[in-house]
Every structure is written in C-alpha cells, then in structure tokens.
Amino acid sequence: MTGRVARNVLALLVFVVSVFPVYWMVLTAVKPAREIQAETPTFWPSALTLDHFNAAVHAQGFWYFWRNSLLVACVAVLLSLVVALLAAYAVARLRWKGRRGFILMVFIAQMTPWEALLIPMYVIARDTGMLDTLSMLTLVYFMITLPFTIVTLRNFLAAVPVELEEAAQVDGCDRPAAFRRVVLPLLAPGLLTTSLFGFITAWNEFAFANLLIIKDQDDRTLPVWLSSFSNTFGTDWGATMAASTLFMLPVLAIFLVLQRKVTAGITGGAVKA
C-alpha cells in the first residue's frame, strides 16, 4: 500500500507543477497590488481586485489588438475550412489519379518548419506591398492551418457512411445536394472541432505577426503586444498577468467546448468511428 501512497503523492506533484504557472498567472491578476509588491508572496489572495484587468483593458490600443487577432484568426480559419472541405471531399470520396501524391503533399505541408520561412515571407510581403497588412498575416495563417484542416476533415468525412450519401442520391439529390443535406449536418461537430483548433493556432501565432507587422503599430496582434508588455506596463506584473489571462481565456474556453464536442462528434448520431 505504500506504493499507492507514493503514486498519489507523485501524481499530486505532477498536478502542482503543471498547474502552478497558470495558477500564479491568474492569482497575480486578481491580487491587490500591495500583495504583489510584498516581500513574502501570498499563495491565496486576501482580497480580489479587478484593478489589473482594468489597467490591461485600458492600455493603449488593447481593443485594436484584440480585434486584429480575432479578425485575422477568424478569416484565416473560415478560408481554410472552405478550401479544405473541397479537398477533403475529393480525397475521402472520389478516386482519381494523383490522389496518393496529393495526400503525401498535404502531410509534408503539415510538417513545414514555418520558422524557416520567415525571411522569404518577409521578402515576398515586401515585394508585393503586403508588408504591414493584416491580409498578409491572414494568408499565412490560412496556409499554416490548411494542411491540418484537410487531414482532420478527411478523417471526419471518412467516418460518415458513404451509404447515407448514396441513399440521398437515390432519393433524387444530386451530389452537391446530397452533400449539403446529408453529409454537412453530420460533419458539423468535425467542422467545429477543426476550426477551433485552427483558431487556436492562429490566435497564438507570434513569429510572423512580429515580423510582418512592423510600422503600423495599430495593426499588431495580441501575442506581439503581450510579448512587449514591459514597454506598456513596465514592471506592473498585475496588469501583465491580467492581459495574459485575458489572452488565454478564449483558448481555454475552446478547450472546454472541445472536450464535449469531440466525444459528441465520435459517438453521436449516424457517425461511427
């Protein structure tokens, strides 16, 4: 039985180590300033305050950056969803010459070390007058999420029985109509899951945002702004942690949604894994 106790202690340690930084971030964000400045840190707040969130939200340009991040991520994800859905259908449902080659290409594209493409992307953006534009950033995020979106949607599509589609075609739907009326509703959880993962990728991206948006400071996105927090907040750790918390919130919400949707997508309705 000492084995079981030791395991539980170790498990607790793993839990504490993995959760502590996030806990410390949120805690600092809601602590009164005097507790942050105290020689002896408090691990449980004596009082809660929204002052730091106020400071973060009212920091210069916060709402611009918030809007930019949201805009870029949403447009990129929608774009890649549409483009990927077409390709995923071709791969999952049709037989054609070059199909294997196409799948290979998508897999390779998925593993692209994007960090190695910063320089040519910068040069291309400059050549085409797209430097300092959110549309360039959107295009890059679209391409970063596209391969993953194709692979995942193809898997979700493959899980929808082809017989359902054929039945609809027998009933008089043409192929696009059968797809729209039968496959698409069943695919909804898959579409949601995929787009949310894509959203997280685009929302978190830093390197390209930092490189492609230079002059026009109002066009920056949240991660870039957050990385330069010391310019904005100095050593105001409360506000910095509040801003980090606000930045993390949508991602966390998505993870919570996904937990339910992923299982629903696999076990629900006519879809069988």
Binding site: W24, M25, L94, I124, L139, N204
Partner: protein
C-alpha cells in the same frame, strides 16, 4: 424532402450518365484551391528562400531589387564561420536536453496515470490539459514573472529553502541559467502532449500481456522493458520525432524571453537566422542558415514520414 434535380446547372447534367467524365474532372477542380494556395504560400517561399541563399541579398536589394547571383559564396561564408558551428552545436545540445527530458518525464507521467485511481487520474489529466491549453506567449510572460529577480516566486522559494544567495538573483543575466529556464519552459509546455499521447497508446496494450508477465514474476520496470516499450516502440519513435522537430525549430520562447542572449548564450539556429536577417539585413546569410536548418530537420522528418506512410498504407 429532397429537391428535384435541377437540370439547368452543368454539374447536374452529368448526374448519372456522365459520371465517368465527372469523376475525372471534379477531383482536380476540388483540390485546385489547395494546390494554388500551397504553390504560392508554401512552395514559392521555400524556393525563394533557396534562391535568396544563392544571391547577394542585403538591405539595398530588398529595397531596390536586382540581387545578383552569388553562387556558393554565402554557403562558404556561413560554413567557415565558427559562430555558425557554435550555434549549431548549441542547437543540438538544446534539442537533445529538451527532447531527452520530455521523453523521460512524459513516459513516467503516462505510466503513473495508468496506475492511478479514477479521481487522481482525472486530476492529473485535467492539469496536463490545462498546461497544454496555455498559449505559448502567456506561458513565456508567466515564466518571466516567476523568475523575475525582485519579486519572483522562484527566488523567494529558494531563499526560504535556505539558499540565501538567491535573494534578488537575476536569472536572465546569466547564460547557462537562461538556457536552463528555457529548457524548463519548453519541457513544461511539451510534456502534456507527449504524456497524453503515450498514455492513450498505453491503454491500447492488451491487459493479458501484463497479467502473464506478472504471473511469470516480472516487476514494474521489467514489464515496461519487455512489454510496454517494445509494443509501443513505433509510438515512442513518432513522439520523439515530433518533439525533435518542435524543439529544433523553437523560436518564439527563446526570442521573447532572451532574444538569444545574454551574449549568444541561447542563440539557436532559428534565432540566429532571424538575427542575421533582421538586425544585420543579411537576408542571404539568414536564408543560408534556415536552408541548413531545414536540411537538419529533414532527418527527423524522414523518419516521421516513413512511419506516417506505413500507417497510411495500412489504413
């Protein structure tokens, strides 16, 4: 329910009779947007990177164009620069240390989770998912705060534990210590994915194997060595590969926390390429470094693809 087939549209006309023709035509139309996007946003930048690496490409060429052919001059310059080799060695060390720690820790965590009761298992898995969900930038700011010299919680804990010299200790002023903090950050961020993947794989190992091993008198370590690891060897290989790729090209954490410093203490290849291009405006040399980096990563990638395609062929 189903609407009547509209004969007016071209695709409907091909509904049944022209199926064969449509089959040859539609797939290519459906993948055309993907191909176009990949060509312009992925293949072209890759090629452009290679082209720039063979040109004289500085600030003047960036602004006015007209970059001249340089042959292998840039490659020669980079490969004969001791700085490049020390950065490469550092990158390899950084990757080895990180991936080693990630694999060991995540294996331990996965094995631990396998043996926990229901409640503790959910607690640990929940914690791992929370860590996994933490955006990189949020994590880097928190680590900067935790390790900050004046009010950082790490210094406080160390002082409390009796290491009085850590009072007001400036971690980021010291090369090896900054390196260590980056390792801690990357390992902390990477263990959840690896541990969750390995745990999911471990649950697929048939229980009877362990039963049999226990009857034969095998202990925990022995049954890991003789059953878990051999059965899951492809999975371990795959995860190791992915981690090598992710750590090897890690840029954001290093760039935001230390910018490659202090001095050059935490400059790895991706950071080096970026510095050379952006601060020195030597886009050609930066391109060479990133081409060489891709070549290094290709080894890990090849291994990964070999595995992926075995899966794909089996599916």
């Amino acid at each position: 329910m189903a609407p009547p087939v509209r004969r007016s549209s071209g695709r409907a006309a091909a509904a049944q009779g022209g199926a064969r023709r449509r089959r040859t035509f539609w797939p290519y139309l459906l993948i055309a947007p993907t191909l176009l996007a990949t060509a312009y946003l992925l293949v072209y930048p890759l090629l452009r990177n290679v082209i720039i690496s063979f040109q004289h490409f500085g600030l003047a060429q960036l602004i006015r164009g007209g970059a001249g052919f340089a042959g292998f001059a840039n490659y020669g310059a980079v490969l004969s620069d001791p700085e490049f080799w020390s950065v490469t060695r550092r990158t390899l060390l950084f990757t080895a240390v990180n991936v080693g720690l990630i694999m060991v820790l995540s294996t331990v965590v996965a094995l631990l989770v396998m043996r926990l009761g229901r409640v503790m298992r959910l607690v640990v898995l929940g914690g791992l998912v929370l860590t996994w969900a933490t955006p990189m930038i949020a994590a880097t700011t928190v680590f900067q705060w935790m390790f900050s010299s004046q009010l950082g919680v790490v210094n406080w804990v160390l002082v409390r534990l009796g290491f009085a010299s850590f009072r007001g200790h400036a971690w980021f002023a010291d090369g090896p210590q900054t390196f260590a903090i980056l390792v801690a950050l990357i390992v902390w961020q990477s263990v959840p994915f690896a541990a969750l993947t390995l745990y999911a794989a471990m649950t697929t190992v048939p229980h009877e194997l362990y039963e049999a091993a226990r009857i034969d008198g095998a202990g925990g370590l022995r049954s890991f060595r003789s059953i878990t690891f051999p059965v899951l060897r492809p999975m371990f290989g795959l995860v190791t590969c992915l981690e090598v790729i992710w750590v090897g090209k890690a840029f954001v954490q290093i760039w935001v926390i230390s910018g490659g410093g202090p001095g050059r203490a935490t400059t790895t290849l991706p950071v080096y390429a970026y510095q050379v291009a952006q601060s020195l405006h030597r886009y050609d040399v930066g391109a060479v470094v990133s081409v060489l980096m891709v070549l290094l990563l290709v080894f890990a990638l090849l291994f990964y693809f070999r595995h992926m395609f075995r899966e794909e062929a089996a599916a």
